[in-house]
Symmetry: C3
Subunit: 218 residues, 3 copies
C-alpha cells in the first residue's frame, strides 16, 4: 500500500542519509586534497576524515554503543571509492573550488537530517536533536578544513553556513511537533538547509555580522 519501493523501506532512514552524506562529503574532502596536491592515499585519508568525522563525533557524544562506521565499514570503503574517482577526474572540472562549495552544500543538506534522524530515534530531547543535526552537518567539513589549513567554511564572513544547519534542524523539530511523519520532517529539514545555503552562495543571503567600532586614532 506504500508508495515507497521495497529497498528504501528496508534501510533505516538514518542509515540511508548517513550513506548519502558520506559519499558527498568524501567528494568534498577529495577536492580539498586536490587543492593540497596530495597523493592517492592522502585523497583517501582526507575524504574519509571528512565523510565520517561529523557522524563519528555525534555517535561518541550521544553514547551510541558502536560508532556507525566501526559497526559497518562499508561507509569508509565508499568514501575511499569516492576519493579514487576524484583523484582521476578532478582535472575535468571547470572550477574545483566552485564544485567544492556546491558539493559541500549538498553534503550539509544530507548530513543535517542524518544527524537529526539518528538522534530522534534514540529519543533525545529537542535541544540535543538540534545540536546533533548541526554537529553531524558541520564537523566533518570543519575537521577537513582545520587539518588542511583552509579557512573553515563555518567562519566565512558574509555567508550563511552554520545558520543553514541550525535552521534545517529546527525546521525538522517544528515539523515533528506539528505532527508530520518522520520522512516528511527530514525532507523539510534537508530542503531548508539546502535552500538557505544555495541562496547564500548564489544570491549572497547573509545575517548581519558583528561590527566593532572603527579603531580609534592615536
Amino acid at each position: 500500500m506504500t508508495a515507497l519501493p521495497d529497498w528504501l523501506t528496508q534501510v533505516p532512514l538514518g542509515a540511508a542519509l548517513d550513506y548519502a552524506a558520506v559519499v558527498v562529503f568524501a567528494l568534498t574532502g577529495a577536492l580539498v586534497a586536490s587543492r593540497q596536491q596530495l597523493d592517492l592515499v592522502g585523497f583517501i585519508f582526507i575524504a574519509a576524515l571528512t565523510a565520517v568525522g561529523g557522524g563519528t563525533l555525534r555517535d561518541l557524544l550521544i553514547g551510541r554503543d558502536t560508532v556507525f562506521w566501526v559497526g559497518n565499514p562499508t561507509y569508509v570503503l565508499i568514501a575511499a571509492g569516492a576519493a579514487v574517482v576524484v583523484f582521476f577526474t578532478a582535472h575535468l572540472l571547470e572550477s574545483r573550488y566552485r564544485a567544492l562549495l556546491w558539493l559541500d552544500a549538498w553534503a550539509l543538506a544530507v548530513a543535517v537530517p542524518a544527524g537529526v534522524a539518528v538522534t530522534m530515534r534514540l529519543e533525545h530531547g529537542p535541544v540535543i536533536v538540534l545540536i546533533m543535526g548541526v554537529v553531524t552537518g558541520t564537523f566533518g567539513g570543519l575537521m577537513r578544513d582545520v587539518v588542511c589549513n583552509e579557512v573553515p567554511l563555518v567562519l566565512k564572513q558574509g555567508e550563511l553556513y552554520l545558520t543553514c544547519a541550525f535552521a534545517g534542524a529546527a525546521s525538522a523539530l517544528i515539523a515533528n511537533a506539528a505532527g508530520l511523519d518522520r520522512l516528511s520532517a527530514l525532507l523539510i529539514c534537508g530542503a531548508v538547509t539546502f535552500i538557505l545555503r544555495a541562496g547564500s552562495l548564489r544570491f549572497g543571503w547573509k545575517l548581519p555580522v558583528y561590527k566593532a567600532r572603527p579603531p580609534r586614532q592615536y
Copy 2:
C-alpha cells in the same frame, strides 16, 4: 548547622563549577567570534564549543555514561545566552582582547576545579585527576583557538598558562591528601590557578623557556 545556604548544597559541587565554567568560557568564545566578525549563529557556535569542549573531552576520556551537557542541555542554552549578550554588548568594551584574556583567566580558575571535582568523585587516582583538571581547563580554549585560527593561549611564549592549570590541580590533590574537605581543596585549586595566571598577565611571571643555540653562521 552548616554555614552554606541551602541552594548551594543541593547542586553537586562538580555540576555547580561546570555551570560557572560554561558561562565564562562561553563569553571568551563569543569575544573571539567578535574578533572574527561572525554573525549571531557563529557567536553561538564558537561560544558553545569553547564552553563545553574541555568538559566533553574529560567525560569521553573517563568514560562517563553520559556527557554532562547531553544529559542536561541547560549548559548549552546558557552558553548560547552568553553569546547573544556578547553579540550586542562587546562594542562597549574598552579593549576586547584584554577582556578576553581576563575572562579566560577566570574560566581557567573555575574549569580546573570543575575537572578535578568530577574526576575525584569517580574515584580516579591522582595522576588522572591532575590530567582531567588540566584537560577540562584548557581544551575548550584550545579548540576555540584552533578553529578560529588564533595562536592558542597554551602556546604563548613567556606566559604561564598550562602551568597555572597544572599547579592548581596539584594543589587540590595536596590539600586533599592533607585531609582538607573537598570544598576547601577546590577553593584552593581555583585560587592557585587564578593567582598564577593573574600574576603572569599583570606582572609577567613566567618559567624559563627552551632556548636553542643561536643559529650557526654559514
Copy 3:
C-alpha cells in the same frame, strides 16, 4: 621451549608496543615544543598529547571500556619524563628538525603495529584493523602539528607518510591471513612501515601527486 625472554611474554604485545610508541612520540612532541620555545610544562603537554593522542582516538572509536592511559597512567608519566629529558638535552642535537623527522618515522613504525595489535585482539574485521593501525600511527602527530601550527606531516607533498602506515597495516593483515603468528605479523608491519618511510626520507620515494591543469592565462 620458547626463545622469548620471560619478561617479554608477560606484557601483552599490544601494551608493549603502546609503551614504545608513547616514548618515541613523546620525544617528537617535545622537539616540536622546542621549536615553539615553550617552557617545561608546555613540553610535557605537547609530548603527552602527541604520545597518547592516536591511541586515545583508537580506544574511543573501537569502544574500549577504558582508554589505555586512563586505566594505567604510567604511559603519561613516561611521556612526561621523555619531555623533561628533551627540555634539557635538545640543544645537543646537530639538527632538531632531522631528529624530529627520524624519531617520527620510528614512532610511526611502532604505533601502527600497536594499533593493529589492539584492534585484532578485539576481533574486529580487517578494514577496521587497517583503519585503527593508520589512526594510531598518525593522529598523535597530526594533533601535535595542528595545535602547534606546523604543516602536518600527513600533508607534506612528495613524501610517503600515510602510505607507509597503510602499507604497514595491510602487510600485517596479509601476513595474518597467510597463517603467520601474531608476533611475526606485527614485526612485518613495523618493518614495512619503517622501510617505506625511511626510503622516502633518504631516497625521496614517493607516489605521484595530483596535478591540476596549469592555471589558464587570462
